[in-house]
């Protein structure tokens, strides 16, 4: 099976969907001749032309607004927000409008748009290129929020997102873009939205996570295997809606749950996962549901040592697992 990076998987997914469905088009900053700031649309304008690969001005609110309008008229736009950090001007279009289209029109209209944005830190991006934005959008009924961790998942989920009839916020962790590679089949496949994936089976403790952190958790799990701690790693993949069934299954199986995310802890995805478990699997718990997450600090620092300190990494996960496993 061919080995690809997350970036290549994203690129393949969009190219295949654009070839399959002429209603799919992409708009965003520098996506045309430049091929996108991360080269996600490299070669696209040559293949699909400027009417389907639309370079926009530096105005995220209009990128999202145009995408929303087009989607309500039968198109399937992919709006690329260059960095998740710049997504805030789109809040009105995405949260205030797109999320409510189907509900507000009693199903007469749909908003089948995808908002793609690279997010996350650990890339020397400093304050304006490192933000985690998933928790904000995950709060909103009417939106779906996807945070893939592997090339295989990224491709399968992005295809599902493009074909979905509701607005989907698709957050690609930029550290995974070129640093994570994995097998992606040539054959056509999709992955259902809202389905978590057990990336590693274990008995003693469950680690529930998503995005880049999946890889750090898997690394910690394989190190701990030598110490006799059997760690199950559940990759949420979709953070809205959360796959409650899979979350409860793993919680009941091991009785101990550590939730790991790069985003800061308060009111994050981990809080929701913890509440789901507490509500429906309380009797199975053998220790406190524990969260390991980013610090309550306004932004990721630019200084390398401080960034290192800010990021959740394998070593921190390792210690958190050991603590909870020993509880």
């Amino acid at each position: 099976m061919p080995v690809k990076t997350v970036l290549e998987a994203v690129r393949d997914a969009m190219r295949e969907e654009m070839r399959r469905d002429s209603n799919v088009f992409i708009l965003g900053e520098d996506i045309g001749a430049r091929g996108g700031v991360f080269l996600a649309t490299d070669g696209f304008v040559e293949e699909f032309g400027e009417t389907r690969i639309i370079d926009t001005p530096l105005a995220e609110s209009s990128i999202a607004g145009i995408a929303l309008g087009a989607s309500m008229h039968g198109m399937r736009p992919i709006a690329e927000i260059e960095f998740g950090d710049f997504i805030w001007p789109t809040i009105n279009q995405i949260v205030g409008e797109a999320a409510k289209v189907r509900y507000g029109t009693e199903g007469k209209l749909n908003a089948p748009l995808v908002i793609r944005a690279p997010h996350g830190g650990g890339v020397r991006g400093g304050l304006y290129h490192s933000q985690s934005v998933e928790a904000f959008f995950s709060h909103v009924p009417g939106l779906k929020v996807i945070t893939p961790s592997t090339p295989y998942d990224a491709k399968g989920l992005l295809k599902s997102a493009i074909r979905d009839n509701d607005p989907v916020v698709f957050l690609e962790h930029k550290r995974t873009y070129r640093l994570v590679r994995g097998e992606v089949p040539d054959e056509e496949y999709t992955i259902p939205i809202g389905k978590a994936d057990v990336k590693r089976q274990g008995d003693d403790i469950s680690v529930i996570t998503y995005g880049l952190m999946v890889h750090h958790c898997l690394e910690a799990a394989s190190i701990l295997e030598n110490d006799g701690v059997s760690v199950e790693v559940l990759d949420l993949r979709t953070v809205r809606p959360i796959d409650e069934k899979s979350v409860l299954e793993t919680a009941k199986k091991t009785g101990k749950v550590l939730i790991v995310h790069e985003d800061n802890k308060s009111l994050g995805i981990g809080a929701e996962v913890a509440a789901i478990i507490s509500e429906s699997a309380f009797e199975y718990l053998d220790g406190p549901i524990t969260r390991l997450a980013g610090p309550e600090v306004p932004a990721m620092p630019f200084s390398p040592p401080l960034e290192e300190m800010f990021m959740v990494n394998t070593e921190k996960i390792l210690q958190a697992i050991q603590q909870l496993a020993g509880y």
Binding site: G126, T150, G182, G255, G287, P288, P305
Partner: protein
């Protein structure tokens, strides 16, 4: 000084070496363009970080190398130290190899440090002090500092389900907390035949017949109690090398004694007097004479049990259970009858408590009630022996060269051959026989 391919562009892992702008032996000024580097994000001229002489070019033009790879060496005058500095990353530049199979989950490339979108991040300097100072204070689950045990919901649920006294379990968790795993381990280790616990994870040892279901078969789901019985039988059959012996007992006097007592006993005590209390009494006394029969195999020693607790096999609605008469040797025939009746009632009603089924040291099974005249029981692990009493049958027997009609009963004994040999085992059977045959119209019931 070794020159690394610097981090150019965000989330770029490798670059192609373009044209070298200096030749080996050239003098290089700091910031002089040294080499062209091409990535899928930027094309740039790499400036020399130092002043010196270009000593060696490690990567020829057109070759792709990962970020951080050593591409050249510049000799810096009067600064030998820099050259000597070990660079950990030199060895690790191989890591983003594409040869290793990565699977669908993929791999996270290591020791490749991407930089910010402006490309100005600089190399990744691992500041170990900082990392360790932060990781020394990991997330701490609330610690139970008080001596009072706090049980998690999972532990309470398990203990309730299996009727386990948590005080008996040694906790391995933080501050000696009893963890779910501790309870599971306890349940597994205490799955004995005289134990009602259910542990669904313990059935690996049961063996498995796998076949495709077809119309000629019906699959009956295994009940929890069936699972326990199965596990116990496997334990007995696989862990204990068992031998067997049968002895014929003349119980004519026992039958007579019981017949004379039957009516009055029922009237006085309200329960039926069966033969079993007499047998239990005889067995208890014989166990005192042959203590090896009241023991367990302990690998490096034989564990003699000082107290005599007789397990009684009773057919319950959904399978066999083996409740225990504690200190059977201290009870009279009447006491044994009452205790037996209690246990049978509890069994039939499904009200057996944990203490009712624990601690047996020898088992008596009245298989004769079912009509058998001989049976080969499996020892109730980890006990040393099990005795069955078979059906009482009137038969012509030769006594003093005369034929008499006597009530005859076989007793069958299976025993752990590691603990004792035929001599002791047969001695036990003989002892039981002697006691049963010496019952007379004077044998006390109280």
């Amino acid at each position: 000084m070794k020159i690394e391919l610097p981090q150019v562009g965000e989330s770029v892992t490798e670059g192609v070496i373009g044209k070298w702008l200096k030749n080996i032996g050239d003098n290089v000024e700091k910031f002089d363009p040294l080499v062209e580097v091409v990535t899928d994000k930027v094309n740039m001229e790499l400036p020399s970080p130092v002043t010196g002489t270009l000593k060696e070019i490690m990567v020829p033009e057109g070759e792709t190398v990962p970020m951080g790879a050593i591409i050249a060496e510049i000799e810096v005058e009067g600064d030998q130290d820099i050259e000597e500095q070990p660079d950990q990353r030199t060895e690790q530049t191989e890591s983003p190899s594409t040869d290793i199979p990565v699977g669908k989950i993929g791999e996270l490339l290591k020791d490749v440090s991407p930089v910010g979108p402006t490309g100005s991040g600089g190399p990744l300097n691992k500041t170990n002090e900082l990392i360790s100072s932060t990781t020394e204070k990991p997330v701490e689950p609330q610690q139970t500092t008080s001596k009072r045990q706090i049980y998690s919901p999972a532990v309470l649920r398990l203990s309730e389900k299996h009727q386990v006294d948590l005080n008996n379990i040694k906790g391995t968790g933080i501050n000696g907390r009893v963890t779910r795993k501790d309870v599971q381990n306890y349940l597994q280790s205490s799955i004995l035949p005289d134990n009602l616990t259910v542990n669904s994870t313990h059935d690996e040892s049961l063996g498995e017949i796998t076949s495709e279901p077809n119309g000629d078969e019906q699959r009956i789901p295994i009940t929890p109690i069936r699972k326990i019985i199965a596990a116990n039988m496997v334990k007995s059959a696989t862990l204990i090398p068992q031998a067997w012996g049968q002895t014929e007992v003349d119980v004519t006097n026992l039958v007579a004694r019981r017949n004379t007592l039957k009516e009055s006993f029922k009237e006085r005590e309200g329960i039926t007097l069966t033969y079993l209390p007499f047998v239990i009494k005889a067995v208890s006394e014989s166990l005192k004479e042959i203590p090896l029969m009241n023991s367990s195999w302990g690998n490096d020693s034989i564990i003699l049990k000082k107290r005599i607790h007789i397990s009684i096999a009773i057919a319950a609605p959904d399978g066999l259970v083996v409740p225990v008469i504690k200190d059977a040797d201290t009870l009279s025939i009447s006491g044994l009858a009452k205790r037996l009746n209690e246990l049978i009632t509890k069994t039939r009603e499904g009200n057996l408590a944990m203490e009712d089924v624990q601690g047996g040291t020898f088992t008596v099974n009245n298989t004769g009630a079912l009509g058998t005249t001989s049976s080969v029981p499996l020892v109730n692990y980890p006990q040393a022996g099990i005795l069955t009493t078979e059906a009482i049958i009137k038969r012509p027997v030769i006594i003093d060269d005369a034929i008499a009609i006597r009530s005859m009963m076989n007793i069958c004994l299976s025993f752990d051959h590691r603990i004792m040999d035929g001599q002791e085992a047969t001695g036990f059977n003989m002892s039981v026989r002697k006691k049963l045959e010496s019952i007379s119209s004077n044998t006390p019931v109280y």
